[in-house]
Symmetry: C2
Amino acid sequence: MMISGNLLIGGSARRGNNGAFFGLDAATGEPLEGSFGGATIADLEDAAALAWQAFGIYRQTSLHLRSRFLSKIADEIAELGEDLISRCMAETGLPRARVESERARTVGQLRLFAAVVRDGSFLEARIDPGQPDRKPSPRPDLRLMKAPLGPVAVFGASNFPLAFSVAGGDTSSALAAGCPVIVKAHSAHPGTSELVGLAVRRAVQACDLPEGVFSLLYDSGNDISQALVAHPKICAVGFTGSRSGGKAFMKIAAARNQPIPVYAEMSSINPVILFPVALARRGAAIGRAFASSLTLGAGQFCTSPGLILAEQGNGLEEFIRGAKDALSGIPAATMLTDRIRKSYGAAVEQRAGRRGVELLAQGLPASGRAAQSVIFSTDARTFLAGVDLHDEIFGAASLVVRCTDQNELEKVVHSLEGQLTIAIHIDPEDHDSARKMLPALEGLAGRILVNGFGTGVEVAHAMVHGGPYPATSDGRSTSVGSLAIERFLRPICYQDTPDDLLPQVLRDRNPESVRRMENGIFV
Amino acid sequence: MMISGNLLIGGSARRGNNGAFFGLDAATGEPLEGSFGGATIADLEDAAALAWQAFGIYRQTSLHLRSRFLSKIADEIAELGEDLISRCMAETGLPRARVESERARTVGQLRLFAAVVRDGSFLEARIDPGQPDRKPSPRPDLRLMKAPLGPVAVFGASNFPLAFSVAGGDTSSALAAGCPVIVKAHSAHPGTSELVGLAVRRAVQACDLPEGVFSLLYDSGNDISQALVAHPKICAVGFTGSRSGGKAFMKIAAARNQPIPVYAEMSSINPVILFPVALARRGAAIGRAFASSLTLGAGQFCTSPGLILAEQGNGLEEFIRGAKDALSGIPAATMLTDRIRKSYGAAVEQRAGRRGVELLAQGLPASGRAAQSVIFSTDARTFLAGVDLHDEIFGAASLVVRCTDQNELEKVVHSLEGQLTIAIHIDPEDHDSARKMLPALEGLAGRILVNGFGTGVEVAHAMVHGGPYPATSDGRSTSVGSLAIERFLRPICYQDTPDDLLPQVLRDRNPESVRRMENGIFV
């Protein structure tokens, strides 16, 4: 397939005239096919106007049609076949198996939302029938359902070129909710973005939906991204990326005439707490599993285990030995972009030279855009005193914090910021102390794992990929799993509204057979 | 009952030493029993520390106990009997029937949340059982439920001394969610607040809950209110009041180290759209009903009909005649505070003198803290050009906008800000044009009413009392009805967690028999 580098403004493709850039070959650093033109404000205005226009129609589509649309996007992405895989591998440096499994996840995610839409429970339809004879005053007929917020701006993520980019979790949940989407592609994989964007557009056309349901923009800098968040026709934002990027968007969104929700998944060090009995019995094995989770995808996961907490002792030394052994055999892996590789290198160098921090273990040496994995250690006192040690290093770097006792470990736990995940490693004899710590962990993270690591986020109904600020901008939400649809909905109540003016879902005969609450009971 | 004027910091009552104020008799302006001492920062710190301490325990209470607690608060408020009614009438100037019905609403609201808690569906429990044999990788066991955010700051509202104050909608939904509450009482009804606060405290004690579950503070200025929103142990805010107050809290909350959600219900003019056939057939009757809704509670409702939109013609003249006739017989009613009365007077005077605005009708003359109701009119062109005409006048003042045709009326609709309610008056022949307008109305308001007015907000499962900014700070929420509990919850996922470490609701045998989604199906 040819890569054009064009913007997709609804149904039309046009060249952006605001600067240009290329997708780069991860192996060679050379430009790949296609020069991508950055969008101008005029392009953004056109996309926003089309999205707004489409919203009036798209929000009223039947659940059946909207579900079919999501499935069709999945089909179209699957149809891209080897073209998508090879372009994505070239741009990101990710190995084939990872890109293929990410495609499977992306397609599966779209199909999951297709099922969620077909089911209709997400609308939370509720009916309190009128009671005209109630004393002292009659009760009106009240019917509630959740409705889409409006056009959503989605920012592609560098580390998930498929699953959190053009047709990833944010886009699929926003489309499922009934919101048109304008995607700002990540500049690290523009060719991948174009291929997927064209697939979405084919699905829009095949389902005879208004063209403005989907647009794809490139930004040669940050101006268009910021203008997109500030645009009056944009009603919500989905973003996965750096803390500084997320915070900038939060600020823009809060300063608008009409503030809008920003769902930014920003940064997390995903603490792993090793309890004494588990550590004593299985220290080395946990260490090996840790090294494997840490280096997965060159550590470029939001859920990468960046912090290990344990009481000092033989168990911890066994853990370190296990991790060290495993790490020493793990090859350096290519990082997503040159910039990410450089940031990683600089952060690792800084930490290596930091007072109170010791180098524990390293992976195999690296060259070019690849990066050497690394484990540091420090003591709890140093960690508690140093806010810089709480910062995420994006990549395969982790920090072991040695605590003198349980009390000190708890102090460290209470010093932590909001996280996406916290893992605990326990044996049955550890359950009592784990139970005492759980309320604190529940306050800190969106997902609590037992005897595992946070990498490998399952797309499921019960998944939470979110967590208290600053892990995300809004700890009330998840960006992965079917509950992600909640982010793009708001409730509307219809009072005493004649049946023929109600949305289908709230009509007496419930033509789409959606689960509804009636008088407080689900029927 | 004696009124002490003391702060309630958990289980202890103490005098606030940061200035003092009195409840004032609405009829005479004289101080009522009790001098209320404003809280100091130290008082706030104590209340916040107790709330935080209580949170660890309260969040883990069984649904049964939490439900019993809410019912007990309802019982204790009912037990206050005539003491509560007479103090509330004296402080607010509201008539007995209104105060009694508001008490009934408040007690009913607490009982509704008791039922919601007992039912447990609000927890949205979800289980995706593990699939250890899945290829290529096993699926972990995932269990999700919603958990409380943490201590909530609630600000009492002037216009609902019971239903949206100390134990009103915000407090009851936050307590139902599992969040301790710190209430800042509204200074317009401090004695009412103390009585209700003591009732809540008795319920805390009777249910053997940690004292920090509830505290009640007074603020002699705004400093403590602002410090409360900024306090690191406060995790969410519930507020009903002015737009300037709500916006100030939004700003403070967004600027915190850890931003928190603010649920502020701020201002709305609740447009009423009169369609041609209904107007032609029933103009006078709709006008009379309008006058009655406008003057209910001296117009001091968030949902008071402040704007009438219609095409000019005989029907509209009939409507105006009906409204004028009705209004001319309606006595002036006492407003909630002297300050509110003065603001109302000033706003009405300003509007009366505004170019392009005409005085249409008035209620009976007023004196003292009472206020004369008033209806103005203007033409659509003036309304479209004047942002000041979109502002709420808190009280029984409304504005009729005469439109030359349907097209101009639609322009006016599209110029509106976010609203709590929009009412349409239609006859069957109007349905087609109403249907065309509905998508715009859905984008503008949280509740759409047909052939009625927004006043008289039903506390029910299907109620939405919310709406796009600036009607509220967060259009994704409602502050009235059982869905209000959603505001104080966040999802947490437990992965591969042993049964004995899971919350009761997620354990295999589901001891509290809560509705759960398993593999995407509700069971």
